[in-house]
Amino acid sequence: MLIRGVALLAACYITGQLIGETLGRLLQINANVGGVGFAMLLLILSQNWLEQRGRFHLEMQEGVVFWSKMYLPVIVAMSATQNAKLALSSGLVALLAGIVPVVVCLATMPLISKLNPKSE
């Protein structure tokens, strides 16, 4: 049963990646457009679909939950493989072009948050 959960996750992942790559090709850009986002939507929808039919077992969920708990270690490993030297050593243009946009975008966050319908 565990492997069914992992397989469901894998199916959503691969399908999402394919959608993202296909979308990128259709738009004629050399990039994956929202592959992870599509995969996440697929996982949410298929989980709902299976639950409604009573075919979503606890053990199946565990196959997915394991990976979501591995998320943090993977991010730690990812940060340990960043090109941190390049970021610190490539001069003022790169530093400023990395820092200033973040600050500018942060400043707009309260404005965009107002677009949200007030939660109850």
Partner: protein, 252 residues
């Protein structure tokens, strides 16, 4: 002694699991005794990862952080895009579809604002630092989006390789800044609801930075932020070499 190295290299991914585990145990311990758990262990672990990557880069001269050290080469797989995206997708389990639908509009707006504003902020800096040609200005502006948008745009508009390198560096600076800065700024920008995380992901766009930053802030927010951030690089690759490049070329 050579055979020990061989065993470690041959089992690279497992070695990476072990080393990451030890790193996180140490980070958890430091969090408890040094900061009284005020700074979460996950934040310390991610930050020490970056520090290790920096020194590994100095020592090896490579570009892949500690993965350039032979016995730690398994980190390239564990910290690579495949595992990162697979685990991010798995966090969607249990996400509320209602919240995503409700925040949809604000999420799309945040994506557009995030890409366009980052681009212009980067472009203005490029101009201020003396760049005169449209291709270089556009590429550095694109690098201010993410470190994927920069080189993709640079190739498309025909920028020089030195400028492409700067655009990658700008994107890496951004992703590291977001990683470190998110938990520090979260309180001041109201980053404590799934809705806010979706907007934040759209504004910042660097999937690795947003995912790591939110993980250190509140792991429950990760799927929401990652959901919008994943569309950002694609949108940037779409807009920067086309509409935004044409706009820059009208003036330069």
């Amino acid at each position: 002694m050579d055979y020990i190295t061989t065993v470690l290299v041959k089992n690279g991914l497992i070695v990476a699991f072990l080393v990451t585990g030890l790193l996180m145990i140490a980070a958890e311990y430091l969090s408890k005794i040094l900061t009284n758990k005020k700074i979460p262990g996950s934040a310390i672990a991610i930050f020490s990862g970056l520090v290790l990557a920096y020194f590994a880069g100095l020592a090896t001269g490579g570009s892949k952080g500690i993965a350039d050290i032979k016995v730690l080469s398994g980190f390239e797989l564990m910290g690579g895009a495949m595992f990162r995206d697979f685990t991010i997708v798995s966090t969607a389990m249990g996400v509320s579809f209602g919240i995503i639908k409700k925040t949809g509009l604000a999420g799309v707006v945040s994506l557009l604002v995030g890409v366009v504003l980052s681009f212009f902020a980067g472009a203005v800096i490029a101009i201020a630092m003396g760049y005169q040609d449209a291709a270089s200005i556009t590429t550095i502006g694109a690098g201010a989006c993410t470190f994927v948008v920069g080189p993709v745009t640079g190739t498309a508009v025909g920028a020089g390789s030195d400028v492409v390198a700067i655009s990658i560096a700008a994107g890496v600076v951004k992703s590291i800044l977001v990683t470190i800065g998110t938990p520090l700024m979260a309180r001041f920008i109201g980053l404590n609801t799934p809705q806010a995380a979706m907007i934040y992901g759209g504004l910042m766009g660097t999937t690795s930075g947003v995912a790591a930053g939110l993980a250190a802030t509140d792991p429950k927010l990760v799927p929401y932020g990652a959901m919008t951030a994943t569309f950002y690089t694609g949108l940037g690759c779409l807009l920067c070499p086309s509409a935004l490049f044409l706009l820059v070329r009208m003036f330069y």
